[in-house]
């Protein structure tokens, strides 16, 4: 192994009310993949944003390829050969794929843009990554996972020597993840240094050489991956042993409380029928784009339905708007927290109170602030949301803590059915268990839980019954006893025999 190509020493960074990084050091060698691990809010993204010049550090030093760097910004980082794939998508929706890939370093001839050449080059890069994307399509027309792949292509196209990937796989399909790992291994062999951030610890074995762990903004330890175990990593991350990864609660299944019949809504929700019984968790598995999110949105009234019936406790309910669903006792924690989950400019308190105002207003619509406060305090405590006080903006929370708020705001209600869409996406192990516990608690109270997830282990670990979706249809209903990763995957790939529209 070669010399260090990145040396961060004693880096500190504070945000209002939070010390995000406290004297953290990090070294990266050429040709190695370093996994940067830690709970939500540990400071991983912040550290990488400092390395790539998005944030400036409050104190500390930075050496790149042995040279001291004092002024770092996105342009300087690019020139130094540092590329970063951010945790959140950072693309221009109105520009084409090629325009996005070459943004900031456009190819020009005598000052005139050479779009043909850029399209050509983009096409080469995309196909070298086995991505079937037309470089001339407008980015906003692609699915989230395709957009994520474009972002990866963009980072790779800079021929960076130092590559940072902040949760690149959270929006990818398993096939895309495989391709990404192939690429990572190739780059590693070519001598790139890669920092890899992920909460999916099972991925690490395929690519990682070394792990480094942060907790609460502090450096905990780093070690060679082969000398450690996932169990040990988790222990370092949370500072305690996590004994049971998927706590399962057994409860006798009661009567049928919820039923969907022949639901149709757009091309990703076709003839969906299923039922839900008191005290059970139904998992919905499937590949990206299978239509799970769309199904949940259609049930909840967030998108228009074409046809279908929804029955609660034996009674048909008319749901045209989310408020109809909420009143009928159905609630949804959506998958995209920034876009659909949170009012980021409002306080945590406002966010938690928002869907529950009906429970704290008098007939004139006046809000009882005492009840509001009580509810907030309770939710913060139950979910262990870490914040300065409940009046800070939701924006300032780390990704994982934001997710907890999205889930938390629904728990104060006495709902009949709670739908979780990817509730653990981008959440650390400790918090994941907390969310599983919440689902179990709801189940114990006799509430029906629908749990959409792309992660097989948790679907298998938590659900009592699993619906598998592909191409907008339910292709199979599996009892937990008969479900395995293989059987789920088999049904999840049972596509309609039609050309995929993205390719056409």
């Amino acid at each position: 192994m070669g010399n260090f190509i990145v040396e961060l020493e004693n880096v500190s960074k504070g945000f209002p009310g939070v010390k995000a990084l406290d004297h953290v050091s990090l070294q990266l060698r050429a040709g190695e993949v370093l996994a940067l691990l830690g709970e939500n809010g540990a400071g991983k993204s912040t550290l990488m944003k400092i390395l790539s010049g998005v944030y400036t550090m409050d104190e500390g030093t930075m050496k790149i390829f042995g040279e001291m760097v004092t002024e770092m910004n996105p342009v300087a980082a690019q020139e130094l050969g540092i590329a970063i794939i951010h945790q959140e998508l950072n693309m221009c929706d109105h520009l084409t794929v090629a325009q996005n890939i070459f943004l900031g370093r456009e190819v020009t001839k005598k000052g005139i843009l050479s779009d043909a050449e850029m399209n050509q080059k983009a096409s080469e890069i995309l196909s070298s990554l086995s991505m079937d994307i037309d470089p001339d399509t407008v980015l906003g027309d692609l699915s989230v996972s395709k957009q994520q792949m474009v972002e990866i292509a963009k980072a790779l196209s800079t021929n960076a020597r130092i590559l940072i990937m902040d949760e690149p796989t959270s929006a990818l399909t398993s096939q895309e993840i495989d391709e990404l790992f192939t690429i990572i291994n190739r780059l590693k062999n070519e001598g790139c240094g890669i920092v890899y951030i992920s909460h999916r610890l099972e991925e690490l074995q395929h690519i990682v050489d070394r792990v480094m762990i942060l907790r609460d903004g502090q450096y905990i330890t780093s070690m060679d991956f082969k000398d450690t175990s996932i169990q040990e990593v988790i222990a370092h991350m949370v500072g305690r042993e996590i004994t049971e990864k998927f706590p399962r609660v057994n409860r006798s299944v009661g009567r049928k409380i919820f039923e969907v019949q022949h639901l149709n809504a757009g091309k990703l929700v076709k003839d969906i029928s299923f039922s839900l019984y008191e005290g059970e968790i139904v998992g919905i598995a499937g590949l990206m784009g299978a239509g799970r999110t769309e199904t949940t949105r259609a049930i909840f009234g967030a998108d228009a339905k074409e046809s279908g019936t929804i029955i609660i406790d034996g009674e048909v309910v008319e749901i045209n708007q989310p408020i109809d669903a909420i009143n009928a006792g159905i609630v949804l924690a959506p998958e995209n927290r920034k876009k659909d989950g949170l009012c980021t400019k409002l306080s945590i308190k406002d966010n938690i109170a928002l869907p529950n105002l009906d429970m704290m207003v008098n007939p004139l619509g006046i809000v009882n602030t005492k009840k509001e406060e009580e509810m907030t305090v309770k939710a913060i405590k139950n979910l262990d949301i870490r914040l300065a006080n409940s009046d800070v903006d939701a924006e300032s929370l780390s990704g994982g803590n934001q997710q907890k708020v999205v889930v938390g705001k629904w728990l104060a209600r006495n709902s009949r059915v709670v739908i979780f869409d990817e509730p653990t996406r981008g959440i650390d192990v400790g918090s994941k268990v907390e969310i599983y516990n919440i689902m179990n608690a709801l189940k114990s109270q006799g509430i029906g839980v629908i749990f959409v997830s792309s992660e097989m282990p948790e679907i298998l670990g938590i659900s009592d019954r699993i619906l598998v979706m592909a191409d907008g249809r339910i292709t199979k209903e599996l009892d937990i006893e008969e479900a395995t990763q293989d059987s789920i995957l088999a049904y999840a790939t049972q596509f309609d025999k039609k050309i995929h529209h993205d390719i056409a």
Binding site: S12, G14, F15, P16, G17, V18, K19, D58, E59, F300, A302, Q321, P322, I323, A325, I326, N327, L332, P334, K339, D340, G341, L342, C343, T344, K345, L346, D350, A353, L354, P355, L357, D358, V361, L364, G365, I366, V367, D391, V392, K409
Partner: protein
């Protein structure tokens, strides 16, 4: 302990939406008042004070309306035209012999219709609010011109004296009625915004309409409500205009929508939505009114007046931004220490 509690309470007040800017602006207002007080010995005469307050009242009213709309993340450019339309409709009806109070009723109905149109265009038809209300701005001005056949109306006559007293010339408890009207509406709308479900929804929609929708908020209804408040405020100002001049003027209220934005923003309401309080709107409107009054007395030509006002609009918002950044730095210092 009581002390600590107080401190905590104070901290909460300060960290409230846009409170920082309200405080900065209030300090600015005090400075302005002091400066003008020194420049012009008449400034603090009870006559000028009550006069000044009456001049500020309409700005507060349109400011309230614009603030509501801005907080939902939209804008209402039609305010000035709705003022003109209301002025012309009420005056035309009165000159045609309708009882003033009935005319007032009709005026509010017309303004509310305009508010609903705005709300529906923005929230249902999904027009960009700038465009939708640019359109209704022109339409409402057209209506103002058409109701009396492209002429200002004649005098609304002696039968409307009571109306004129109520909206402008009369006093109650030593203060002009106009001030009471502004204060009354402010109290009502401030209460709605800060204490009721509708208010919460308005903030939520402005912060993130998607998230609000998924939390069961009816976006279209909420946005329409905000435009209705704006229309009610504009109509009230239109009626005040009729009362002031005792006739209908087609141009009444021209560019008031911009004053309204200025008052709101100087008072800390964000044009991006989700942020601001009506207390700030009062301060912003007062700064605007004091400037107009004070500069006129100071004998400043309109040119200078324009430049000073422009500079103050910019500086007031700039100051807020700088202070906020500093605040952050200070906190950082503390956190690091």
């Amino acid at each position: 302990m009581g002390n600590k509690d107080l401190g905590k309470k104070m901290l909460k007040v300060f960290s409230k939406r846009g409170m920082g800017q309200v405080i900065t602006a209030s300090v600015g207002l005090v400075v302005l008042v002091v400066v003008f007080g020194i420049l012009n010995p008449n400034f603090f005469s009870s006559r000028n004070v009550s006069n000044l307050l009456r001049q500020i009242a309409p700005i507060i009213l349109i400011g309230i309306g614009q603030s509501y709309v801005l907080i939902t993340g939209n804008i209402d450019l039609s305010i000035g035209s709705v003022v003109g339309m209301s002025c012309m409709i009420s005056a035309t009806l009165m000159t045609k012999g309708m009882s003033p109070w009935l005319a007032v009723g009709f005026t509010y109905v017309a303004a509310l219709a305009m508010g609903i149109l705005n709300g529906q265009l923005v929230s249902k038809a999904k027009l960009p609010p700038f465009i939708a209300t640019l359109g209704t701005m022109t339409i409402a001005r057209g209506i103002a011109q058409i109701v009396n056949n492209n002429y200002n109306t004649d005098s609304i006559g002696a039968g409307a004296e009571g109306f004129r007293e109520l909206f402008y010339y009369g006093k109650t408890a030593g203060l002009f009625n106009t001030i009471w009207i502004a204060l009354g509406l402010w109290l009502v709308f401030n209460f709605i915004l800060s204490k009721t479900r509708t208010g919460r929804h308005i903030y939520a929609v402005g912060s993130n309409a998607h998230a609000a929708h998924l939390s069961g908020v009816n976006i279209a209804q909420t946005v329409t409500k905000a435009y209705l408040v704006s229309a009610v405020c504009a109509a009230t100002v239109g009626l005040i205009m009729t009362a002031i001049s005792g006739m209908g003027t087609m141009d009444a209220g021209t560019t008031y929508e911009l004053y309204a934005v200025a008052a709101s923003v100087i008072g800390g309401v964000s044009t991006l939505g989700g942020q601001g309080i009506l207390l700030g709107t009062i301060v912003g409107a007062s700064i605007w009114g004091v400037l107009q009054n004070g500069l006129q007395f100071a004998g400043a030509p309109v040119a200078i007046r324009n430049i000073v006002i422009g500079v103050i609009v910019i500086i007031s918002v700039l100051l807020d931004i700088v202070l906020r950044a500093n605040n952050r730095k200070n906190k950082k210092g503390k956190a690091a220490a």
